[in-house]
């Protein structure tokens, strides 16, 4: 047990190195964002884009990983898959919340309103609500809610193409998916750096959350073994 504990410890050199790399990437990305030229029509408010889009990407990535883990748990009985799914769902809720707050702040400046019930915004809200339902079911539903939550994760994954292609298939005022390719050179570098920094942050958070969840599962197993040993002794 001590060897396993040290492998998953948040104080391990590998984890601290990953944190340092993430911090460094964010310093570089924030510098690039600050140096990036201002967009002509929107001005400074366009800089929300550099954080908003990576958060949207992480919302979708989290949902995919959550669905993958849920498939492994539902059809293969993988406990690790279940733990990955729960950790990814929490991150999906976190980054989804960031998307749903930063987007309306940009919209207020660009469209004059915080919210429009149009396809991209509504499907993103739906995706976030499904992930939130997953996390709440896991938190308060007890052990029997694990399979139900896993099925919910699969429904959430079905919503991803709807979110991504909504601007193409429905009449939408949201900027299209090709907006990244239209960015100027100074803006494009800042965007990709920000996307990289956020993705590394997501990986570090997922590893940390997964380590806590795995340690918790091992602890429960050990407690059961210890209960049995204590009963035998008495």
């Amino acid at each position: 047990m001590p060897a396993q504990t040290s492998q998953t410890s948040h104080g391990s050199p590998r984890f601290l190195a990953a944190c340092a790399v993430t911090f460094l990437l964010f310093v570089i990305a924030c510098n690039a964002i600050a140096d990036a030229p201002r967009e002509i029509t929107m001005g400074l408010v366009q800089k929300i884009f550099y954080f908003h889009v990576p958060c949207a990407w992480l919302l979708m990535l989290s949902t995919l990983v959550c669905a993958g883990g849920s498939v492994a748990y539902l059809f293969g009985g993988s406990e690790r898959g279940d733990r990955v799914a729960l950790s990814a769902a929490e991150l999906g809720v976190l980054f989804g919340m960031c998307v749903l707050v930063s987007g309306p702040l940009w919209a207020k400046a660009a469209w004059g309103v915080y919210w429009q019930w149009e396809a991209r915004l509504t499907s993103s809200l739906l995706l976030w609500l499904m992930l939130l339902a997953y996390v709440l079911a896991r938190r308060y539903g007890g052990p029997s809610a694990r399979r139900l939550a896993a099925a919910l994760a699969l429904f959430a994954a079905i919503d991803i193409p709807l979110v991504y292609f909504s601007v193409r298939f429905f009449r939408s005022i949201h900027p299209s998916n090709t907006v990244v390719s239209t960015l100027g050179p100074g803006m494009r570098g800042a965007f990709w750096l920000s996307l990289l920094a956020f993705t590394v942050l997501w990986s570090v958070l997922l590893a940390a959350r997964l380590a806590v969840e795995s340690a918790q599962a091992r602890l429960v197993d050990l407690e059961i073994l210890l209960d049995q040993a204590e009963e035998k002794k008495t």
Binding site: H10, M97, C98, S102, V212
Partner: protein, 45 residues
Amino acid sequence: MKMVALAYGFIWLAVFGYVFLVGRRLGKLNGEMDELRRRIDRLKS
């Protein structure tokens, strides 16, 4: 400027809040580990 500051501020607050929550869970887990160690020691003696 206000909108940009609000957006960036919220995202950082949310991320740090999450890190704090994970840290708190880890602290709780360490407490449970200590309790388990005590039980093992009692069982040994």
